[in-house]
Amino acid sequence: MNSIVTEQKITNNNFSIKNTLNLLAEHSTIVVFLTMMFAAYFLSDKFYSVANITNVLRQSVPLGLVSLGMLYVILTGGIDLSVGSIMALVSVVVALVIPEYGVFFAVCSAVIVATLMGSCAGGLVAYFKIAPFIATLAMMTIARGLALIVSKGQPIFVDDVAFVDFGTGYFMGLPLPVYVFLFFSILAHFIYKKTTFGRLVISIGSNETATRFAGIPVERYKFAVYALSGMACGVAGVIAATRTGVGSPVLGLSFELDAIAAVVVGGASLAGGRGTVFKTIIGVLILSVISNLMNLMNISGYLQQIVKGVIIILAVVLESLKTKQ
């Protein structure tokens, strides 16, 4: 009891400074994001235009969807490297199926293919106890290989008007894909906050042994997060194809790194158990806005990569400061 009292005294003394610092560290992701949005005003006069903002939002949708799936995988303490390749496979499948069976069937089959690929990774991790890094690395090259075989290595153009219209269309001033992302974000948040599934995923990431010892079939949940991540890639792949009108076997190269970066910048711990949907979305926006800003400022692609890396380090260092406290 004594120590608690003295601790309180100490915090009272440094009230203003320490509490402000704590608050900043607690919401480091948001601080970084707001600072960036503020800086953007001075860095480019084109940034705050309706056309540019809607463009940024539209561009962030595939990364956003994939990151939501990635968040769940990372929450369990795993990682999914296969996301970019699965997106490519999906875009190729959807482009090939549309002329034969129509848009609806094409989208369904593409999402199913993606979920199956994710399930394979999940099965390897959960039931064959293969390290997530290895299992999804294997799935990454398999999915990429499949995409290249199915497409014969060529981009496949989609000439279905409705399909392409969806990618470029608007509703109430916002691009249509943004609504898809909003829907899945709310769903992901709801699952995270309100369901047993979300609760147990966090529990597994926090302490897998104790969760297993509580009588939870841990394998089932681990399997499910990879399947869900696959499904998210399915939707993301379809959206990406609607935007460009092309099914491409080279879509989403190194996309897994962007998605992991978005989740980590959003304050999640790669050890599992920590991370939120809201902050992951902020993480996605941070990455998208950086790219966009640097494009507007005519910064070379090479330099962009360095800046991106620095921002990621900055966000994670802020996060680690919080953990230390």
Binding site: T196, S206, N207
Partner: protein, 516 residues
């Protein structure tokens, strides 16, 4: 004028005693929070002797040796090494006084060679480059001096455990150790390997190395050691001479404590057998385990560490697979492949390691309580009813008198005893009627202990069948109706009611290895 020579002669005498003893400990104390692990330990070890340290689990043997090797810092008392008073605050300081410790679990790298292991702390002898030739040559020299017939370039993992242990000894002695502590070195050895080890230890003693030997095996102690110190509850009880004392003398001084009023009155259990284990064997350790627990009964599993008590719990809970045998509940044979199966069949486990296995430390108390039975919190389509969850958590908070700030605080914010109550609450929130508690009061202060005992008793009144694993004999005797005593993977015996005495339990628990 005549006083001076007397004073001098006294000083000389003291000097002689100090020389004769390599280690002298006076009134050594160590506390961990509220737990007084070492109350007052006196230990005198003669130079060039093998000195046995015996006592029950938790008596303080390992703590004492960790103090001597600088892993723990003593809170009080005096330690003298070769006449010089010391106060170790780091393992390095202990090493500088040429003290080496060999823990029960070997700390060697399996994929390195024997020589590399021996010189691991300074492979380059101050430089950055490793000369395989040089370390092999020096290792060979060291091993030959000890009479160990081990080739220095052998991969360590290819050696048998006994030889690995010898490498560990060589590693200590390569640093010019002249006090060697061995903490239950034979627990993992076969009989033949033990003979080899003993020969080497005697040879070391004859070269002037002082050895402290911790063991539960009394036969070994008689065979090997020159003096015996018994400690109990963190205090030195007696020093015995293995030439003159008997096994019974040792056991009597290890046990025989005052019974205190920590325990609630026992209730009479029903005759209905709930849990039954028949001829259970595992690939590793357990042999022909037959136990049963009745409704409303508290059954103990006693024995020394490594006897197989936790392994039984792990089998019952589906963590380890059984090789043969049957587990029955209410007469029905169970097929348990994982903990999820066990929980579905109504078996709960409060595991031995609360931090790693029992609690999700970073998560709120509320989530820890409802973890095993989220269905109960009114979830249709897997949606959690937060209000119901809060109600349930608050109910358990009251019922088990869990002292907490808010049920939303992480469980790590609680004391050990209250954490354990939360882990128990988790099972009370399920439909389990068989509860296995593995060391339920480890790291729990006395007040919370008594509360946990009362909770356990309350459960028996509700018809729970309870199996308790404990290294504290008092706990077994005070709480259980019946106890099985385990030794070396087998049930060594069963004790009921007044037959459950510390002496009887210790007699059965100590491994009986045929004297050769």
């Amino acid at each position: 004028m005549q006083l001076i020579p007397i004073g001098i002669s006294k000083m000389v005498k003291v000097e002689v005693i100090m020389r004769e003893y390599s280690i002298v400990m006076n009134n050594v104390q160590k506390r961990f929070g509220g737990i007084h692990a070492l109350k007052s330990v006196d230990l005198k070890v003669k130079k060039g002797s093998i000195h046995a340290l015996v006592g029950e689990n938790g008596a303080g043997k390992s703590t004492l040796m960790k103090v001597l090797s600088g892993i723990y810092i003593k809170d009080g008392g005096k330690i003298t090494i070769d006449g010089q008073e010391v106060h170790f605050t780091t393992p390095r300081q202990s090493q500088e006084h040429n003290i080496g410790i060999i823990h029960q679990e070997l700390a060697l790298s399996k994929d390195l060679s024997v020589a590399e292991n021996i010189f691991l702390s300074d492979l380059g002898f101050g430089g950055a480059l490793v000369s395989t030739k040089k370390i092999n040559r020096l290792a060979k020299l060291a091993l030959d001096q000890l009479g160990f017939d081990i080739h220095p370039s052998t991969r360590l993992g290819d050696l048998s455990i006994a030889y690995q242990q010898m490498v560990e000894i060589a590693k200590s002695l390569a640093k010019n150790v002249n006090i060697l502590i061995l903490d239950e070195p034979t627990a993992i050895l076969s009989e033949k390997e033990i003979d080899v080890l003993f020969d080497k230890l005697r040879a070391l003693r004859d070269k002037g190395v002082t050895i402290i030997y911790i063991s539960h095996r009394l036969d070994e102690i008689f065979k090997l050691t020159d003096a015996i110190t018994v400690i109990k509850d963190g205090e030195t009880v007696i020093e015995l001479d293995p030439e003159t004392c008997t096994e019974n003398d040792i056991i009597c001084s290890m046990v025989g404590r005052q019974f205190n009023q920590l325990f609630p009155e026992k209730q009479i259990p029903s005759e209905e057998v709930v849990l039954e284990v028949i001829n259970l064997n595992t690939a590793k350790l357990l042999r022909n385990i037959n136990i049963n627990v009745k409704k409303g009964e508290i059954v103990g599993l006693a024995g020394i560490i490594g006897a197989g008590r936790t392994e039984i719990a792990r089998c019952l809970f589906g963590i380890d697979l059984i090789a043969s045998g049957e587990i029955k509940k209410n007469g029905k044979t169970l097929h348990i492949n994982n903990p999820a199966d066990a929980v579905k069949l109504g078996i709960g486990l409060v595991p031995e390691s609360r931090k790693e296995q029992g609690a999700i430390l970073s998560r709120p108390i509320r989530e820890n309580i409802t973890l095993s039975n989220l269905k109960k919190t009114g979830s249709t389509f897997g949606i959690i009813n937060r209000l119901k969850e809060i109600t349930i958590s608050n109910e358990f908070r009251k019922r088990l008198a869990i002292k907490l700030g808010s049920i939303e605080d992480p469980i790590s914010s609680l004391s050990g005893g209250n954490q354990q109550k939360v882990v128990i609450a988790k099972w009370l929130n399920t439909d389990c009627d068989v509860l296995i508690l593995d060391e339920p009061t480890r790291g729990v202060d006395v007040g919370a202990k008594s509360e946990i005992y009362n909770i356990i008793l309350e459960l028996t009144q509700k018809g729970y069948a309870i199996l308790i694993i404990s290294s504290e004999l008092m706990e077994i005797i005070g709480l259980c109706h019946r106890t099985y005593v385990m030794s070396e993977g087998e049930i060594a015996g069963e004790l009921i009611g007044d037959d459950m005495t510390e002496k009887n339990i210790m007699r059965m628990a100590l491994p009986k290895r045929a004297l050769i």
